[in-house]
Symmetry: C2
Subunit: 229 residues, 2 copies
């Protein structure tokens, strides 16, 4: 019943939960009680329980106490690197080609994702990312010029992604992964057959004054997004 640090205390409590000492949904003792039981300060118990709550093992509510989660939800941490970093991290040379740069009315799906009026004029950028000359990802980006604190200029030398992370304060964003068959334009750029199954990541980024950009990234065949739980 002794624990020296909050991590070992977390393990001790986690073990008791796994052993069904407290069944699913059951109330476990309060922080003060556990602090006495284990001979530690209440703050230490608090940290251990917060870690378990963050891991989805328990649910905590004021006044109601701490309960064993009915069905444990796994939470994974996903790291989303800038493409250039990902490529260079593999020891490959990064490059990109700006395939198109135009101003056009945003398609309905994009406008909806960005919570903007349908048909709003936005900057549309199409970029191909390369690793050692081989196609890595096909990027389709819509950028709301009104949301930018300063005009970005052309994106010939610096990718839009990197310009944005350096110049626009980030507030929140939405990210989704899905699978889709490659349209002809994407397939041609990536050098795959039309209709090939590709992993697509969609990202909408919001700044202080609303949506900034919406990106659809078609990854090369075989690309995997990996994480540990």
């Amino acid at each position: 019943m002794t624990a020296h640090g909050w991590e070992s205390l977390r393990e001790a409590l986690h073990a008791r939960i796994r052993a069904r000492e407290w069944p699913q949904g059951a109330l476990i003792p309060g922080e003060e009680q556990l602090a006495r039981d284990y001979g530690v300060a209440r703050a230490t118990v608090n940290r251990a329980l917060q870690a378990l709550a963050e891991a989805g093992v328990v649910e905590r509510r004021k006044r109601a106490g701490t309960r064993v989660a009915a069905l444990p939800v796994r939470r994974a941490r996903l790291e989303i690197p800038v493409i250039r970093q990902e490529v260079e991290g593999r020891g490959a040379a990064y490059a990109f080609r700006l395939l198109a740069d135009a101003t056009a009315p945003a398609p309905p799906a994009v406008a909806q994702a960005m919570q903007a009026a349908a048909g709003r004029m936005m900057r549309h950028l199409v970029t191909l990312h390369l690793a050692d000359g081989a196609p890595q990802a096909f990027e389709d980006r819509w950028l709301d010029p009104e949301a930018l604190p300063e005009p970005p200029g052309d994106f010939a030398g610096l990718s839009a992604n990197e310009w944005l992370v350096a110049h626009v304060p980030f507030v929140s964003g939405r990210l989704a992964f899905l699978a889709a068959a490659a349209p002809a334009e994407v397939a041609a750029a990536l050098g795959v057959e039309g209709g090939a199954a590709l992993l697509v990541s969609e990202r909408t980024t919001f700044g202080p004054s609303g949506a900034i950009t919406h990106v659809r990234l078609w990854h090369r065949p075989g690309h995997r997004v990996e994480t540990t739980l």
Copy 2:
């Protein structure tokens, strides 16, 4: 320069970082200094900085101090629900059909992912998950019987996934998302055309005594894995 809680302190420091007061890679003041500056206890500064570190905004090392991260890596938290929960959370009725249950030598790819000897005999389960009777996901699971603390019995009434989360202590796992064209068997079960682009999640779970199970989950067309950043 006053901050009342660790969250407002985190915001204050984040704002100074975004304002380039400390450039990328720069060392920011130590905890003790910041505690004096803001008139709070060092523990409060510690919590604020730990939150920024977890968000990828700063990097902290003992002795070396806290630095502004060179390129901010976005970290997203993915919640991986049990399929039944996901379905029922949408208000649909969950069901599953066990399509196959056999013992067979693990294919090389599976054995490698589970860090087991090639050809090791494992239990192979094929399951179709349904939401309101409509196919939701096609599951291909390999289960190492040696890694289980107790024999699981048949999985006719309780899905293998739920039996495992309830009976096997979880240590770590690997999760990957990819896109793949549906093989004939999967396409038939999901009611889609062969070769359709499907989102696939692969998961390998490790217990105290090694790999427990390896799962390949073919999601229905249009399925998205979403998160916020």
